[in-house]
């Protein structure tokens, strides 16, 4: 048992973060990078179910989807898109800082990303509050008045909505079901991401990611960018395509 693997682990050329079952740092980085991509593919399919539902019901209840979409605030939506793109940029810069071993730059980028993420959620909660107050949250208290009597509703008047027939107005609930399901799932991913960011900021300040082992930062970057991409599509589908 002299040449037992325990001995091999202690070889000098193995950095401390290289786990025992990998042959080289490259192999380890490759594997975890690929793992992250596979995980993102599962996320893609997860949101894919929602997009499928969205496309089907938009085809069925076009008028309801247009009217529902008019209830969303494009300014908030655009602002959120910009915030998220900026956070994606700061995250990408963070990855670069980690790769080039710039510790303070990394910490700064992560903190900026964190703040921008919170901004996004803040804006989202403003939007949700608006929906809640107007009784546009699906369920027992769902109200049709914005769609049956658009004159009484600021957003609908601004968009020049005509009153929807009752049967179509009822289907706006499907739109808002999808709106809340899609943006809710997205926001959930943001919240998880922000949680991980806090953890990373603490670790980055301790210098964990600037000694050559940057896989975690890179993988988190992938996750964050993916969340950004989902939002790019949500913004187009929910806010924009029924706007004119």
């Amino acid at each position: 048992m002299e040449n037992s693997p325990a001995v091999a682990e202690l070889r000098a050329d193995r950095p401390s973060y290289l786990r025992h079952h990998f042959q080289s740092v490259e192999q380890q980085a490759d594997a975890s990078n690929f793992a992250m991509w596979l995980f993102l593919l599962t996320e893609l399919m997860f949101f894919g179910g929602l997009f499928t539902a969205y496309l089907i019901y938009r085809n069925w209840y076009f008028a309801a989807f247009v009217a529902g979409s008019h209830q969303l605030n494009v300014i908030w939506g655009t602002l959120n898109t910009v915030v998220l793109i900026l956070s994606s940029f700061t995250m990408a810069m963070g990855v670069w800082c980690a790769e080039t071993a710039r510790k303070s730059g990394l910490v700064l980028c992560l903190i900026l990303t964190f703040i921008l993420g919170l901004c996004f959620l803040g804006i989202k909660s403003v939007e949700y509050t608006e929906k809640f107050e107007k009784h546009h949250v699906p369920g027992q208290h769902y109200s049709l008045s914005s769609f049956l009597y658009p004159d009484t509703d600021e957003a609908a008047t601004a968009a020049g909505d005509k009153p929807l027939p009752l049967d179509m107005a009822r289907h706006t609930e499907v739109y808002f079901s999808l709106y809340f399901a899609m943006t809710g799932m997205h926001a959930l991913h943001m919240i998880i991401g922000i949680g991980i960011l806090v953890f990373m900021i603490v670790r980055a300040r301790a210098g964990a990611y600037t000694v050559g082992h940057v896989t975690f930062v890179e993988n988190f970057g992938l996750y964050w960018h993916f969340v950004d991409i989902v939002w790019i599509y949500l913004f187009a589908l929910l806010y924009l395509i029924s706007r004119h």
Binding site: D30, W37, T52, S88, W96, F235, H244
Partner: protein, 99 residues
């Protein structure tokens, strides 16, 4: 995957992508207020896809990644499109009636 060499993408690329994304956002918001009929959703989705491509290729480094990563992403997107198109095909052809 011996072809893999870890490419570090620099700030210059990131900044230019950032501006491209912001420009895309401005463009898509502007386009959405112009009445283009059936082209509105098409343009909105085309711009969204372009933005997503930029993010995937540069922010997510896929342009510099291994073939394996590219293949995996292609497989995922293909399956996503399968899910959407085959399900939609049922819904669309239901309206054609029976035979």
């Amino acid at each position: 995957m011996s072809e893999h060499t870890h490419t570090i993408v620099g700030p210059k690329v990131y900044v230019s992508i950032l501006f491209a994304l912001l420009a895309g956002t401005a463009l898509t918001v502007w386009a959405s207020f112009v009445d283009l009929g059936v082209w509105n959703p098409v343009i909105a989705l085309a711009i969204a896809t372009t933005k997503a491509m930029l993010v995937v290729l540069y922010f997510m480094h896929v342009r510099y990644s291994t073939k394996l990563t590219k293949l995996a992403i292609a497989a995922g997107i293909f399956l996503l499109l399968t899910l959407i198109s085959m399900t939609l095909a049922d819904y669309v052809s239901r309206a054609w009636g029976s035979w």
